[in-house]
Amino acid sequence: MILSLLKRILMSPYLAFALRIYVGCFFIYASVSKIPFPAQFAEAIANYRLIPYLGLNFGAVLLPWIEFVAGLFLIIGFRARAAVVVIGLLLIMFDLMILINMYWGAPITCGCYDTVGEPIGWKKISENVLMLIFTAQIYLFDRLTITSKWGFLASAGKRIASPAASQ
């Protein structure tokens, strides 16, 4: 009984919608603190010692914008499925980068939201894994995007007025 209710909630498209808003906002929030200061963010990435010198600056300029655009698309439901895949891949990449640096014992901060940031560690990893679970839920159960539902109702209302009623 409780189990089936839980299952229904977990598989609900409404939960998927709520998570879309949450994950989308989260990524937009994370991006806007990095977009204005690419040099600082480049330093934060350099600390991970995984991205080659040549790609560093371009990555530091581009990555926050990918976060922003994917987050925005996820919220408004435009190409949401691709957006959630992009976000999922980013999360996996972040976790891998953090794990490698934890293995090296690198004394670095995350650089996730701002340049100061919290140190990397299991807390950060588990936060990202939780977020990854959210994206999986969205990928699997986000059915009708809410916007298309509204659009659908609006168009249905218009069509009804004419043929079905007057015969």
Partner: protein, 306 residues
């Protein structure tokens, strides 16, 4: 108050009763009762037991079904039109919910009266059949639209990814261009061969003679974790402060050894070339840096050296 004549006129306008003889309509009107409902009032709900058929005298109602918590509108019905026949004809419970959209006057026919009329005038059945066919078509339309929406939402192609990356690149490039804090996208890597390098063994010898200043160019957090014993931390961000504390303008020939390099940033080259620009002639880079130094078992220490 609506009179019997008005009701009769309404029935004559209704597609259902249009073809009935006038005297019979008069009789039907007498047997039907009228009721006014306010906006938002529920006439009947999906699943209710069906007992009446309705003709709208004035006003408007909305017919809809609810599936998985989502409302699907089937029709808006106005004056002269009828509703509620499906459940009476099939003998099942109500298949949709009807709510008044404004103040609506309804003519209500009991199930018995409805059955009598249908039995007496088989032609009316044909009208109802057409009516039911239109409901069916509407159902089909909804199913198709919903299926299409599901496919649309779940379809995902490489174009979507291209779009996300493309929009991001476009925004990133244009913003970086106009951002006062913008950075060069593909900086030219400093030339490593332009600065003399020295092996760790040689470096160790100079280090032991105590004549050279050893600089750790890594960011402070790395320096604090581990560095060559006695080395001074000189990250780019603190260059000027460390310079003031450790260098003097008189002694430009002082030997300096710099180390600290990673795949992402040649910290050692940055510091060494900056020092050379300030006129220091004897600046060398320790080949292999800290890892090579450690591998040879030379002294290192943690935390800041005082």
């Amino acid at each position: 108050m609506i009179t019997e004549t008005d009701n009769k006129d309404n029935l004559l306008k209704s597609p259902v009763f249009r073809n009935l003889p006038a005297d019979r309509i008069q009789e039907i009107v007498r047997k039907a009762r009228c009721e006014t409902v306010g906006p938002g009032a529920v006439v009947f709900r999906e699943g209710d037991v069906a007992e009446h058929f309705y003709i709208i005298n004035s006003g408007k109602v909305r017919v809809f079904v609810r599936h998985n918590g989502v409302e699907r509108e089937l029709a808006i019905r106005g004056a002269g039109e009828g509703f509620g026949e499906v459940a009476l004809l099939t003998g099942e419970s109500r298949t949709a919910t009807v709510v008044a959209l404004e103040e609506t006057e309804l003519m209500i026919f009991s199930k018995e009266l409805f059955d009598d009329i249908v039995r007496e005038y088989p032609d009316i059945s044909r009208t109802f059949m057409k009516e039911m066919r239109s409901w069916l078509l509407r159902d089909q339309e909804i199913i198709e639209e919903e299926a299409e929406a599901v496919i649309k939402a779940s379809r995902m192609s490489w174009v979507d990814f291209l779009l996300i990356i493309g929009v991001s690149v476009l925004l990133a490039l244009s913003f970086n261009h106009s951002n006062p804090n913008g950075i060069p996208l593909f900086p030219v890597a400093p030339d490593r061969s332009s600065i003399p390098a020295i092996s760790v063994t040689e470096a160790k010898q100079l280090y032991e003679q105590g004549k050279v200043l050893v600089l750790d160019a890594m960011p402070p957090n790395f320096y604090q974790k581990r560095h060559i014993k006695g080395a001074v931390n000189m990250p780019m961000t603190l260059f000027d402060i460390v310079y003031l504390m450790n260098f003097s303008e008189e002694d430009k020939d002082r030997g300096v050894l710099v180390y600290g390099n990673s795949i992402s940033r040649p910290y050692d080259l940055e510091i060494a070339s900056k020092l050379m620009l300030r006129g220091y002639g004897d600046v060398k880079i320790i080949d292999g840096g800290l890892p090579a130094w450690e591998a040879d078992g030379y002294p290192v220490e943690a935390m800041a050296a005082k």
